[in-house]
Amino acid sequence: MSAPFARLPRWADYGLVPVINLFVAFLVAGVVVLLVGENPLEAAGILVKGAFGSGQNIAYTLYYATNFIFTGLAVAVAFHCGLFNIGGEGQAYIAGLGVALVSLGFDSVLPWWLTFPLAILTAAAMGAAWAFIPAYLQAKRGSHIVITTIMFNFIAASVMVYLLVGPLKPASSMAPQTRDFLDGAQLPKLGWLLEAVGLSVRSAPLNVSFLLALLMAWVVWVLIWRTKLGYEMRTFGFSPKAARYAGISEARIIVVAMLISGALAGMMALNPIMGDQHHMTLDFVAGAGFVGIAVALMGRSHPAGIVPAAILFGMLYQGGAELAFEMPNISRDMIVIIQGLVILFAGALEHMFRPAIQTIFASISPRSMGVPAPKGKGA
């Protein structure tokens, strides 16, 4: 977004700087662990073991990562177009409605492999639709998209609460959720993938949505760097004036980018609803839309960075659950702190360590820095 032009070697820019930022975020998180009277190193050990210690743990980690790949990609696509989509949470929430309606409507008549594509399309369409109004208002009326997407998160929450305590709730039930789906709307698990390498996954909810998420990561890469549309989005994201000069319609590119972003956020709903719970509950998104911001910032908006960043957060979620079990003082909310710290250090403070790193690089190898500084304005 606003990053100045790289004056570091690429590997340092895309590898070293994020790693240092991440390291500092974890360092501060360690202080919080100290504050609650636990040993940070021990906690980190439990966390990693909880995330990767067994086949089941790995499967859980990847299950959570699936959510974050979708939402991370959603935020990244908007970033490339210079837009900040904070509304992934609401877009995923509304998309869940589409997933639920398709599942409820077809689970008794269609097999999963027919319900799934239908649900994908509906989720994408509903997510995109929820992103459309903020996008349109930004494009046509200049309403700040950050504010409108925040507002739409709250509106989405109200809509879904209304539906889940009312129309969508089976009359016989007290809980605010839909009825359970039949087999036709239950996604196959991917446990066999891990079992093939000799791990035991038992009932972990990792399912085919994970493969869809990886596919989408690839699709986003192609979209951004290999299509005309992606080229136009990046042009607009870097320089709206250059985009205008190049004949790119501002309104169109904003709306299209947000529709794609909303669709990606919407697909996140497939994973918990059809892949795990097999019904739709209140607040099934559980903050994944916001985690997407951290994931996109950490992954520097590139799918090759987003997938590992999503897995890292999957690890935090899964390992955090184990940690909460072992250290009662540390609940899973620890992850929320880490998430905030990652956003702070990898996002808002991303340039804090850069000057120091640049100085170090300049002193080691001046040749790698052979780029003049931005020019000052002469007379």
Binding site: S143, I147, V161, I338
Partner: protein, 321 residues
């Protein structure tokens, strides 16, 4: 009839106060050109710190002080990221909201072991209602009596402070040197810089004020309106305050009206839950809850006036262009 109305308005005032304090808090920051979507987080952290300190010390005043210090600390983090390091102000605000949401729960559980709650507050650990002079004596005067004794009297100190802050903020903004400079730096920081005033220090002072007021908002929630902290007790109030700020077009007196309107919607939705209305039938409570956000979107869309933010808002000041 009058009784019911007064009760509704009384409830409106109670729920409007945290909105108002947070809204005025945001006003200082955004008028200085620093967007702040971290009002929610600062308020939440303030509520938790205030309740914790009040529970430990047994004094509501200590609670208020600690709430303010905590929120100011977070405001300084926001300032450090967005003023000193010219980071993205939205990203920084989001980060602060998460840090506050997570740490209030973690620390609360670790320190008090009550599932994220702080110990219940009573006596001097809470801000008690203040009975205005003669409130009891005048209770029986028709209409005016009840308005005075129920609506105006019987609130905690922070309620009166919050409403007093409206004219104070107006006065600071439009009648003092500090206010002039604050407004200028949100419009054109280069003009402030060339006039020999430090943009950085001016903006830091603005975010500190934001911290003070969000801290007070949090303290009100946990130490005055309620008797302790419960997890996620701000429940989006910071965002509603932000919506109110936009709705008020960044002006103090309209900010009060916007907060009262949104507070009224909140109070009414609780009171009339499930009630049947002529013509429209039953209005879902969720619709009323969403109304502040819907109204703000409509305003932002330019259908009811135009909300133009301070011109330099959200843009870090870079001298050499």
């Amino acid at each position: 009839m009058v009784d019911a109305l007064v009760q509704l308005l009384d409830a409106t005032i109670r729920v409007s106060v945290p909105l108002l304090l947070a809204c005025l808090a945001g006003l200082y920051s955004e008028r200085a050109g620093i967007f702040d979507i971290g009002l929610e987080g600062k308020m939440l952290a303030g509520a938790f710190a205030g309740a914790s300190a009040a529970a430990v010390s047994g004094s509501a005043w200590v609670g208020l002080l600690v709430a303010i210090l905590t929120a100011v600390f977070l405001a300084l983090v926001h300032g450090f990221a967005s003023i000193t390091h010219r980071g993205n102000q939205i990203v920084s605000g989001v980060a602060i909201n998460f840090i506050a949401a997570g740490s209030t729960i973690i620390l609360g559980q670790a320190w008090f072991q009550q599932g994220g709650r702080t110990p219940p507050l009573s006596g001097p650990a809470r801000f008690e209602p203040i009975i205005l002079p003669g409130a009891d004596a005048l209770r029986d005067v028709p209409v005016l009596g009840i308005i005075y004794s129920e609506l105006l009297s019987g609130h905690s100190l922070l309620v009166y402070v919050a409403f007093l802050m409206v004219p104070v903020t107006w006065w600071v903004l439009f009648r003092t040197r500090f206010g002039l400079r604050l407004r200028a730096v949100g419009e054109n920081p280069a003009a402030v810089d060339t006039a020999g005033i430090s943009v950085t220090w001016l903006r830091y002072r603005a975010v500190i004020l934001t911290g003070v007021l969000t801290g007070a908002a949090g303290a009100y929630l946990a130490v005055a309106q309620n008797a302790g902290f419960v997890k996620d007790m701000t429940a989006g109030k910071g965002y509603i305050a932000l919506a109110a700020l936009i709705f008020a077009k960044w002006k103090p007196v309209p900010a009060m009206y916007a907060c009262l309107l949104f507070g009224f919607l909140d109070a009414a939705s609780i009171r009339f839950q499930g009630a049947e209305w002529p013509l429209v039938g039953r209005v879902p409570v969720q619709l009323i809850n969403a109304l502040p956000f819907i109204l703000t979107v409509i305003l932002l869309a330019g259908f009811i006036g135009k909300a133009i933010p301070p011109r330099a808002g959200g843009v870090p000041y870079v001298k050499e262009r």
